[in-house]
């Protein structure tokens, strides 16, 4: 079946601009996660959705970052007033939420964000 998809695959923007990154999870998966992967590092947790609600947003670095999942499927990560330090690969993952801590998370290919 179809995996997690993310669009765009690449996004180049200028400092100060607003960007939206989209994630389409595996059909039927109720849990959705966003991670950020900087060069030479492992992915770092940003936010977790269970259904439509953000169950844990403790990883969001500041209030310029926001994510929504209005219908419990597709999610959008929104970054306001982008800074060069926001440049990274943004990964989305989903899981079926049988039991959140043991469920396998399945990752999308990521969106590479470059802020000039």
């Amino acid at each position: 079946g179809a995996g997690v998809s993310q669009t765009p695959s690449n996004k180049v923007t200028e400092k100060g601009k607003y960007v939206e990154l989209r994630c389409d999870p595996i059909s039927g998966h109720t849990a959705l996660y966003w991670y950020r992967q900087s060069l030479g590092q492992g992915p770092e947790f940003l936010i977790y959705f269970q259904g439509t609600g953000a169950a844990d947003d403790s990883g969001l670095p500041n209030d310029r970052f926001f994510a929504v999942r209005p219908e419990g499927s597709v999610s959008t990560l929104k970054i306001q007033r982008t800074e060069r330090g926001d440049s990274a690969v943004y990964l989305c993952a989903s899981s079926s939420y049988g039991r959140p801590t043991t469920d396998t998370q399945y990752f999308g290919p990521g969106t590479r964000l470059t802020v000039l």
Partner: protein, 115 residues
């Protein structure tokens, strides 16, 4: 706080030889451990996980990992490496509790299998 260490940035192995990619973890509570592989310009692919039970876990593509509680390790192994195994490997941990805890990743180990 939970953490994962992958002590080797790079592992080189000859094709056909056994490979080991090391991972140690630190958690307060019972750990759930995962290995993922990342190929260039692709997302992370799940290889295997340890939740409970047998300490030796078998996963995709002939990989296996052994959970060692006393050494707090979860090393990834394969008896005979293939050139196609060359990729970036990530170990990750979550701790068992009643709510959600983030999946915490190591920095990754780049495996290079030489023909």
């Amino acid at each position: 706080a939970q953490s994962v260490a992958q002590p080797e940035d790079q592992v080189n192995v000859a094709e056909g030889n056994p490979l080991t990619v090391k991972c140690t973890y630190s958690v307060s509570g019972n750990p759930y451990l995962f290995w993922y592989v990342q190929y260039p310009n692709r997302g992370l692919q799940f290889l295997l996980k340890y939740i409970t039970g047998d300490n030796l876990v078998k996963g995709s593509y002939g990989f296996e990992a052994e959970f060692n509680k006393s050494q707090t390790s979860f090393h990834l192994k394969k008896p005979s490496a293939l050139v196609s195994d060359s990729a970036l490997y990530f170990c990750a941990v979550r701790v068992d509790n009643s709510g959600n805890t983030p999946l915490v990743f190591g920095k990754g180990t780049r495996l290079s299998v030489i023909a």
